[in-house]
Amino acid sequence: MRTKIILLICLVFILIWPAIQLYQHRHFQIPIVAGPGVTRVTKLSHYLPALKGTMADTWIFWLEGQESGGKALILGNSHANEPEGMLAALVVIENGLVERGTLLVIPQFNHSASRATRPGDGYPLYFNIDTKWGKKKFRMGNREASPLDQWPDPDVYLHYPDKQLLSFLDARNVNRTWPGRPKGLLMEQVTYAAMELIRQEKVDLVIDIHGAETMFPVTNCIVAPEKSAKLATMVSLTVKATEKFDNHVEPSPPKFRGLSHREIGDYSDAMPFLLEAPIPFLDQPTGPKTEKFLLDGKDPFLLRLSRKNKLFVPYDETGWPIDKRVGQHLSVTLEILRQYSRRTPERSIIIHNVPRYAEVVEKGVGYYFQDPSQVRRDRIYLN
């Protein structure tokens, strides 16, 4: 009995430190600076009050122009282990100035997932981005919402409304729960609230920013359904010609339900686009999952596989750094807005002061983040 008690005490001591680390991760706040272009900040729960007070509720940043025009919605961190989406969204929030139309930005779309870790996958808890004023620290999240916020999982997830069978994990994956339902699972409520936002605000364009493995065929691309395909093709050709990077177009499969690029188009008038940039960190045959690897995307195994033509993107000793990934996303996003504005001038969205690919690669994404300690408190939103 004495041995058991001693072992129990040892176990408690062993558990204390990791428990504190995991608790701090879940409650770590990222200060987001509302840039000069941000006119108001609301919460997603405005469109579905049931979300209020839950970990799934999240900030919406509004960048409204002097002149009325079209509306676009940018989603970052649909998958919180693909941080380029959130970083691109933050660059827009902290720097963008809208002249015409409205830009709505949700940097942490799956807010619950951004506060979860990924058991079994050995991720770092945080990553730091170098800025002019020091390091800006971010939580590393998970693909799915935290089970602390949505649990238990069903034995199999049935997508609403098609009843397509999906993996039980997808019940917590917001990019499988579109278009959602008001009294459904928490993640279904999140996507329903976003659909309500899109429908009520008459949003024209929805840009959902992701990252994908280099060994995944649907990477380094724009995924678009039939209604967005023409515009996506124009964008792809333009960035290739003017900014010299590839970003091909992938059709949204009509039979694969629950994805933003499928359901938003089917259940609203908006044109959806899902952007993918290669994130080597998510590949399986890689070295240790470190913060450095997350940011520089350099890996010896992927380099060897690239030489054997087993990757779907070009890959060399330079890896696929975060600046390149964020830069691509920003350029493609700006190009989508520009091409759409050209085609429908009455619903145009004109934005300035957001850097493009070459600038982000040159200066680094951190260059575009403001020092929260030098900003008025009412312009800081903790997320």
């Binding site: 079994g120 238990p152 069978l165 065929p217």
Partner: protein
């Protein structure tokens, strides 16, 4: 970097072997491997020292849901067994079907396939119907190791059977392939291979006299009846099916709660008075080694990823030349399942499917083929999850390997079927078209 990862891998293997040499249990040896692997990795800051405990604790939660399902399902079966229900079912089944052997065997196969097919977990098949089916097979004159072999193969096939196949779902989720069109590519091989298994291993009776004697000695409690047995199962399967039929009108209960509600029903309908808490406690003590294996496997998986060992293994597999790869699938897939359980589908399966897809192989059929191979690994150490459960529910007390040896014939046929499905996936794509109409 590759040399550093190799050093970590060697340290983990050595730690495991030392554990086994010192006669530690499998789970303690695995823990030693995870702990020393993390420590060795920390020399190279992968992971940093201050993160070692966090990785071990976080990793231990990887299979929390699976552990809850095991625990509640085993309690469910334990309550049924204590109530005398299992003995009653066996006696009744053998009275009505015992004389028509092929029909009895076929029906017993279907009984094992259903729970796993509905939940995607072969363990659920074993925990729910394993014991009564084992008893029925025993009364059909089969020896304990042969019964365990039949149950192991059928439980594995039940997990692969549609509509729910967790390996396929993990692969679909990771490769952005819709989980549709799997009914025939999975259903047909499962029925064919299941029938072959039960007939090849169960056709010839071995110990009729002893079996009959045991059967007649069964002590069925007074008042036991079909409805007392059926009601707990009706509650369990009713709850599972109800979610399938009305998913948008019912709350998600989850398998652990569904099994718990089934257990409570079994306790209420028992003709004799049972101490529910005592049964639960004894059951948990019995499955503690299995639970601790799952906890430690999660830690091991996390440490392997944080140190790069997982990536090294994954890289080694997809670097194999194609012809050699197809041949080595017979070994790689089951062993990966034995070490990582469902984690194997993500670590090896996802890059493998992307690679095959890029070469023109049909992803859905290839996934189905691989799904037949993974369950075989559930009989291999260190986890041997389904193998150990098969041995447990069939009350076999001999050597584990002598039971596993009995599976050689269906094992080889299933392996061939799985690999051929992958190789000829493009030609078999009509099965997907027929499934989707």
């Amino acid at each position: 970097m590759i040399a550093k990862i190799a050093v970590v891998l060697i340290s983990m293997v050595v730690a495991y072997l030392v554990g086994q040499w010192r006669r530690f249990s499998v789970e303690l040896s695995l823990f030693l491997a995870a702990f020393l692997g993390a420590g060795c990795g920390a020399i190279f800051s992968t992971p940093p020292w201050q993160e070692i405990l966090r990785h071990l604790v976080e990793g231990s939660f990887t299979y929390l849901d699976v552990i809850l399902v095991f625990s509640t399902a085993t309690i469910f079966m334990a309550v049924l067994r204590e109530s005398g229900g299992i003995d009653y079912v066996v006696q009744a089944t053998m009275n009505s079907l015992g004389k028509i052997r092929p029909l009895a065997l076929f029906i017993l196969m279907v009984i094992v396939l259903i729970p796993g097919a509905l939940t995607g977990a072969g363990s659920v098949s074993l925990l729910v119907v394993g014991a009564p089916v084992a008893a029925a097979l025993h009364h059909l004159g089969l020896s304990r190791p042969r019964i365990a072999a039949i149950l192991f193969i059928l439980a594995g096939l039940s997990a692969a059977a549609p509509p729910v196949n967790i390996w396929a779902m993990i692969l679909c989720a990771g490769t952005a392939i819709p989980y549709v069109g799997f009914e025939l590519p999975l259903g047909l091989p499962v029925i064919f291979l299941g029938t072959l298994t039960i007939f090849s291993l169960g056709w010839r009776p071995e110990k009729i006299a002893e079996a009959k004697e045991n059967w007649e000695k069964m002590d069925i409690p007074k008042g036991m009846s079909w409805w007392r047995i059926a009601l707990p199962f009706m509650v369990l399967f009713g709850l599972i099916l109800a979610y399938r039929l009305w998913p948008f009108n019912l709350p998600v209960l989850g398998l652990p709660l569904q099994f718990f509600l089934g257990s409570i029903t079994a306790w209420l309908t028992s003709p004799k008075k049972l101490n529910f808490f005592l049964i639960s406690r004894e059951t948990m003590v019995r499955i503690l080694p299995l639970v601790s294996t799952m906890v430690v496997i999660g830690m091991l998986q996390q440490v392997m990823t944080a140190t790069g060992v997982r990536g090294l293994i994954s890289y080694a597999v997809i670097s194999i030349p194609l012809v050699l790869l197809f041949i080595s699938l017979a070994v790689i897939i089951p062993i990966s399942e034995g070490v990582l359980t469902y984690g194997a589908a993500a670590i090896l399966g996802i890059p493998l499917i992307w690679y095959l897809d890029s070469l023109g192989y049909h992803a859905t059929v290839a996934i189905s083929g691989l799904s037949l191979l993974w369950p075989l690994g559930d009989g291999l150490p260190p986890t041997a999850l389904i193998g150990r459960l098969s041995v447990m529910v069939s009350n076999y007390e001999g050597s584990y390997w002598s039971f596993l040896r009995k599976t050689w014939f269906p094992w080889i046929i299933i392996t061939l079927a799985g690999i051929l499905m992958v190789i000829f996936s493009a030609k078999l794509s009509f099965l997907v078209r027929w499934s989707t109409g």
